[in-house]
């Protein structure tokens, strides 16, 4: 996205921040437009194309946030990102093979956000879906923005101390899941017509048969599965990390700076 030098300090920091802010605004504007304007689905199509707006708005927003984030990362963090992406994909696939009723495809995103901050989570999130699209199935590509939101929220949750106690992390996970469900509902509705997988599709059909609109049905479906899924992901991450030696955790500057974990004895640094 950029050819400028990062050595220029302030000018670049402003530009990166501007990219992140504009990207976030575009994502929020897209969501609000789709929810408030309620573009009629397809039968009478004089209105603006909802599917195109959902895809383009979210994609442009996600790309801007990622472009602004990647230049804030140190080389060590950049080297960590591929590991986190591989973790997302390998565990996500394992869950598909075991036919479990959850996704668990964002453990790596949450993990790296906790260890290295929201910017690292954002880059991991968007590239996970790009790579997943490259090697397994392109239909996850439109959902890239959801992983970006998960990375952002997990990073800030860690920064404000939600990982200091084991029981706080699942709460942060459930809240993240609610936001993720709301953000992903328009994509599921307007791009996929409510059917992203046979099982969830049946649920959406059930909600529609009860008289809900398409967008409301995909939102309800998301609210049924996403909070539980993110709650599990956050719990797994906090359990893994508290089991790891604290010398390993305290290596990460983000962990030290914001005291992400409550560890007696290492606070002195």
């Amino acid at each position: 996205m950029s050819t400028t030098t990062t050595g220029q300090g302030n000018a670049n920091r402003t530009r990166n921040l501007a990219l992140i802010v504009i990207g976030t605004l575009i994502v929020l504007a897209t969501y609000l437009y789709l929810v408030i304007a309620q573009p009629t689905e397809l039968a009478d199509n004089a209105s603006a194309p909802a599917g195109l707006i959902a895809m383009a708005g979210y994609l442009v927003g996600a790309v801007l946030i990622a472009a602004g984030s990647i230049h804030r990362l140190s080389t060590v963090t950049i080297a960590m990102v591929p590991v986190a992406i591989a973790l997302n994909i390998v565990v996500g696939q394992l869950v598909v093979v075991l036919a479990l009723p959850v996704y668990l495809d964002s453990i790596g995103t949450v993990l790296i956000s906790v260890l290295a901050g929201p910017a690292a989570g954002v880059v991991t999130g968007i590239l996970t879906n790009v790579i997943w699209g490259l090697i397994l199935s392109p239909s996850v590509l439109p959902f890239a923005v959801v992983q970006v939101v998960i990375g952002l929220m997990a990073g800030y949750a860690a920064r404000y101390g939600m990982f200091r106690r084991v029981w706080l992390a699942p709460i942060a996970g459930a809240v993240t899941g609610v936001v993720a469900a709301m953000i992903s509902a328009p994509i599921a509705a307007f791009v996929f017509g409510g059917v992203t997988a046979p099982g969830t599709g049946a649920l959406v059909g059930m909600f529609q048969a009860w008289g809900n609109s398409l967008l409301a049905s995909t939102t309800f479906q998301g609210l049924l599965s996403d909070p539980l899924d993110k709650l599990l992901s956050f719990t797994v991450v906090v359990l893994i990390l508290t089991a790891l030696p604290s010398r390993f955790l305290q290596r990460f500057p983000f962990v030290r700076e914001y005291r992400v974990f409550r560890r007696p004895g290492v606070k002195a640094a």
């Binding site: 195109l52 472009a67 973790l87 479990l100 009860w210």
Partner: protein
């Protein structure tokens, strides 16, 4: 399982500059999603994607992938939207709260045609483009080399990640970890697997990053490309014409009204 889907062939589609193919993919999707008519998606699929797939010599592979990815979703889409679409008026058949409506079937056809285009066009891009080539072409066009590093590195990392996970699982089983039959209880196996995996993989990272910095990874000086990606004037022109056509497709529905 290999990490990428790339199929090596000699064909005009393989020879195209990866950026041209990427721009074509994006413009195609814009056209398909901008015009809300089922025949647009079907037309693009039959007139653009299928000929390109045949020309690339990957038609069979693509068809296999497309069927496996699309068939379950499309079948469910027709069922769900055909029977429960909220805007349905013309009822063909009714049973309790379910009603088969023309509007629902049309909606399912439109979305289905779009999804078929999305999946087929992107799989075709991945089948005919080596990821390394795509990355170097994008870096030449100004993408931050950090993105290319992450993507290329992940593609190489996944197989070794799987190997490591397998050996950790074997080691844990050797010291008495039981892998239960019940899929829900299998979730419990994740913990003894993930702890060592995360510790090992992230410990390697530090050494790798030192090696990267020693080779000037963080430097932002503009570098020349080791293997230049071939490009032609025709393709350069095409990369401007295709977005223009996509823009026309966005504006067209407003100019000619709804139909």
């Amino acid at each position: 399982m290999s990490t990428t889907l790339y199929v090596e062939r000699v064909s005009p589609v393989h020879r195209l500059n990866p950026v041209t193919k990427l721009v074509a993919l994006l413009c195609l999707l814009v056209v398909v999603f901008a015009i809300a008519q089922w025949w647009v998606g079907v037309g693009v699929l039959l007139l653009v994607i299928v000929p390109a797939a045949v020309a690339s010599g990957c038609g069979g592979v693509l068809a296999g992938f497309a069927l496996r990815l699309l068939l379950p979703v499309l079948a469910m889409l027709v069922l769900v939207q055909g029977l429960t679409y909220p805007g349905g008026q013309t009822v063909l058949w009714e049973w309790g709260p379910l009603a088969l409506t023309t509007e629902g079937l049309l909606f399912a056809a439109t979305i289905g045609a779009r999804l078929a285009c999305l999946v087929c066009a992107s799989v075709l891009l991945v089948l005919t483009t080596h990821p390394g080539e795509l990355m170097s072409a994008l870096t030449e066009k100004g993408l931050s080399p950090k993105f290319s590093y992450i993507i290329s590195s992940t593609l190489q990392l996944i197989p070794s990640f799987r190997d490591r996970a397998d050996s950790i699982l074997l080691a844990q089983q050797a010291r008495g970890l039981a892998v239960p039959r019940n899929p829900l209880r299998r979730l419990g196996v994740l913990m003894p697997l993930l702890g060592p995996l995360v510790l090992g993989m992230f410990t390697d990272v530090e050494e790798r990053s030192t090696a990267m910095e020693a080779r000037g990874f963080g430097s932002t000086a503009r570098r020349t490309s080791l293997v230049p990606v071939p490009d032609t004037t025709a393709q350069r022109v095409a990369r401007w014409v295709m977005p223009a056509l996509a823009a026309v497709a966005i504006v067209a529905p407003f100019v000619w009204g709804s139909r």
